[in-house]
């Protein structure tokens, strides 16, 4: 059974239509939700939490209707908002225990699970200090911990990597992957960095202007293309010329050369061309499609 299901879900505001007859199904796993700002991502999350009524259409979570069973749904859902939501004057431990209680856990369970979950998200000694002094990365971990402490069946993460630097981003992505792989909790995650979603999602749903643009598995989005990418340490032009004279159409893309991969002979041509030039072969990979392509724009490396 799908975890989340919407049928012809529509949400209109006086000025805009945030969701326009959206029908999606989300199966267990890590599911990426993509859309421009204002594309209706947050609206969708609010409707799924039973916090905002839809204009028309239906939505259900675990088969429970969002308009009727809000509290039951929210008992089994975790939510990590995009914006800051942490009081600065209490410690992570105290805050997360309180939030566990607010999800209906008895006091003892709340304490034990808080200790566990803070360890799982990677907060150690700092958990007894007031949150106000935390770095962005630590705050994101606390936000994640409060969304997981009551062992939800699905957790909705709104831009969990926003504002994180590369180190923090890698940690967070790893953590999100673990939430599904180790904890067995389905993750619905939004991000502006499409490359991130390619790395962590099993399935990606793309919303644009409130309607479904595409919903398919990540492997489908990023299937290999019949191209070969190479990067050499120097003399890229000379290598390109050699390959061109061998009958290949070589395109230059920044530091990389892109050539069609019509048959396996191409691999040997490349190897020999590079070896003949006496330069280094830094990279040789089969090209892949990217989620960004469906926006019809080249996202380049932004969302690596």
């Amino acid at each position: 059974m799908p975890v989340i299901q919407t049928e012809e879900l529509t949400k209109r505001f006086p000025a805009t239509t945030a969701l326009d007859r959206l029908s999606i199904e989300v199966e267990p796993g890590v599911v990426g939700l993509v859309g421009a700002n204002g594309a209706g991502k947050s609206t969708l999350i609010k409707i799924l939490l039973g916090l905002s009524p839809a204009t028309s259409g239906r939505a259900s979570v675990f088969g429970l209707d969002v308009t009727e069973d809000g509290p039951q749904i929210r008992e089994r859902v975790g939510y990590m908002p995009e914006h800051d939501c942490l009081p600065g004057d209490v410690s992570a431990t105290e805050f997360v225990v309180h939030m566990a209680r607010m999800s209906g856990l008895p006091p003892d369970a709340a304490r034990e699970r808080t200790a566990d979950i803070l360890r799982h998200v990677g907060l150690y000694e700092e958990r007894y200090r007031p949150i106000g002094g935390y770095s962005t990365g630590m705050k994101q971990r606390v936000k994640l911990a409060q969304a997981l402490v009551h062992d939800p069946e699905i957790v909705m993460l709104d831009e969990p990597t926003n504002g994180l630097d590369p180190v923090g981003r890698d940690d967070m992505l790893l953590l999100i992957r673990r939430i599904w792989a180790e904890f067995g909790i389905t993750v619905l995650v939004t991000s502006h960095l499409l490359g991130e979603l390619e790395r962590i999602s099993d399935h990606v749903v793309v919303i644009d202007g409130g309607t479904l643009l595409r919903s398919s598995s990540t492997s489908e989005f990023t299937r290999t293309s019949q191209t070969l990418l190479i990067e050499v340490s120097a003399e890229a032009d000379a290598v390109a010329a050699t390959l061109t004279s061998a009958g290949l159409t070589v395109k230059r893309d920044g530091a990389q050369l892109v050539l069609p991969l019509d048959d396996d002979e191409v691999y040997d041509l490349v190897r020999d061309a590079v070896a003949a030039e006496g330069v280094g072969l830094i990279r040789l990979e089969q090209g892949r499609h990217h989620i960004s392509e469906i926006f019809g724009e080249d996202q380049g490396g932004v969302g690596r």
């Binding site: 939490l49 916090l51 509290p71 995009e82 914006h83 209680r101």
Partner: protein, 297 residues
């Protein structure tokens, strides 16, 4: 037969939770308890405890003095120097400061740190949040008002004042204190819910309470004594929370009035009662209205 292993590595990985989930009502109760403790700084930083504890002490001090005096002078006077039901009015500034400090700490803080969405994405409904916060602050105020009354009561019993009479008076005063607590907590919370800035909340609550009390008392005094119109002075008492509830307990609970003028007659009494309940109802409605509109993300 295999040997019994002497060492074992336990799995400390993620654990599923299959214990009870307590549902809306118990969540609301947990928030109530948390907020009530928070009003006295319990479970918060040491700095958060200073003011409420100090105020509790300051509140209790006069009661303690009264208890001592009673024991010294009871042979002569045969009663408490100050009736239970007047204690709240006499110590009104302390109540106002407590409210101005703790109502914003309860609501403005959640607004400022944007924690409200975290509550609303959990099993409780918005009205549960309001109920828990309102109940907690009203209880906190009630406790603040109750402690000195109990001290006086103990003092009175030690002074061997008639126990039955004292108990009756105390119970009536406690009932009055409860009404004070509910009305004042409601007004404080409504104001606090409008601003995420604690400073403004504090200033606004003090302004409303102090200004209304000062203005109404001044007017009542002038009209009652300079004009000699006790009825009109009595009606004016409806216009500030302190004089309103004082009038309520004067009329309903037969307490001794601390206001310049008590409610005028039976009609006045009934109006006082109605207005008191209307104020409580309005606070409840306004808070719910306010939180229906708080954005979640």
């Amino acid at each position: 037969m295999t040997e019994q292993p002497s060492g074992v590595i336990h799995d400390i990985g993620y654990r599923k939770y299959d214990g009870p989930r307590l549902g809306r009502a118990r969540v609301t109760r947990a928030l109530y308890a948390h907020s009530l403790r928070g009003a006295y700084g319990l479970g918060r930083s040491a700095r958060a405890k200073v003011l409420p504890m100090l105020l509790l002490g300051v509140m209790a001090l006069p009661a303690f003095i009264i208890a001592v005096i009673t024991n010294v002078t009871s042979d002569i006077t045969g009663g408490l120097p100050l009736p239970y039901s007047r204690y709240v009015m006499v110590t009104m500034p302390i109540l106002a400061i407590f409210l101005a400090a703790q109502a914003p700490a309860s609501l403005s803080r959640d607004l400022r740190f944007k924690t409200v969405p975290l509550y609303f994405s959990r099993p409780m409904e918005r009205s549960d949040y309001v109920l828990a916060k309102y109940g907690a602050l009203a209880t906190a105020v009630f406790l603040l008002l109750t402690l000195p009354l109990l001290i006086m009561y103990v003092g009175a019993l030690l002074a061997e004042l008639p126990a039955g009479e004292q108990t009756g008076d105390l119970l009536l005063a406690l009932l009055g204190a409860a009404v004070f607590a509910v009305v004042f907590a409601g007004i404080g919370l409504v104001i606090a819910s409008l601003t995420p800035r604690r400073g403004f909340g504090v200033a606004a609550i003090i302004t409303v309470l102090a200004l209304s009390f000062a203005a109404v008392s001044a007017l009542q005094g002038i009209i009652r004594y300079e004009v000699g119109d006790a009825d009109l002075a009595g009606w004016l008492g409806l216009l500030s929370p302190a004089t309103l509830v004082d009038g309520f307990q004067t009329w309903v609970l037969d307490a001794s009035s601390s206001s310049v003028a008590p409610p005028p007659g039976a009609a006045g009494g009934v109006v006082y009662v109605l207005v008191t309940f209307a104020v409580i109802g309005a606070c409840w409605a306004l808070l719910n209205l306010r939180y229906r509109k708080v954005a979640v993300s």
